[in-house]
Amino acid sequence: EPEVTQTPSHQVTQMGQEVILRCVPISNHLYFYWYRQILGQKVEFLVSFYNNEISEKSEIFDDQFSVERPDGSNFTLKIRSTKLEDSAMYFCASTQKGENYGYTFGSGTRLTVV
């Protein structure tokens, strides 16, 4: 069964450093997303991406965040200057089209900012 692949599975970084989280969505999917989940809390929307541009972003997704689909395969989330409160599980998801198709989530990247 097709999977969404995320790397790395764990990332520890010092506060103020830049991190890039990588995702390979399912190949025939058109919509891509980043969500995050702080330990013990809700899954929160960060950003959606379609047709090579951001279609929606949440208030969490401030100027420190950016997304890119550099090569038609990878979908990356960059945090320019990490803060302690950025520590969370970051999930990439993709869907074929439309909200009724359901997401396929990756296994996540656990980001720890120290």
Partner: protein, 111 residues
């Protein structure tokens, strides 16, 4: 903001028991989805319900979408330890570009 409240927040039952988990909102959703998440993993889609009043069955799991499309329930019959996990409901925003996730129900089935 379209909020989804789930109840109960935590549920611990014995193997073989039945249970129901609820997902409620004051907003109307065009569809609702249920996911199960295990520790350290991403949520896995179980079902999507689209039509008000719709009932879908997935083996021992029965999902229902409320007539007004503001709520949904998940009923598990004869729960097994493998059912243990965090159950999340999620619904799309009006624009359809993102999903709101519910607060989650953490289910533990004791052998």
């Amino acid at each position: 903001t379209q909020l989804l409240e789930q109840s109960p927040q935590f549920l611990s039952i014995q193997e073989g028991e039945n249970l129901t988990v609820y997902c409620n909102s004051s907003s109307v959703f065009s569809s609702l989805q249920w996911y199960r998440q295990e520790p350290g993993e991403g949520p896995v889609l179980l079902v999507t319900v689209v039509t008000g009043g719709e009932v879908k069955k997935l083996k021992r799991l029965t999902f229902q979408f409320g007539d007004a499309r503001k709520d949904s329930s998940l009923h598990i019959t004869a729960a097994q330890p493998g059912d243990t996990g965090l159950y999340l409901c999620a619904g799309p925003t009006h624009a359809g570009n993102q999903f709101y996730f519910g607060t989650g129900t953490s289910l533990t089935v004791i052998p």
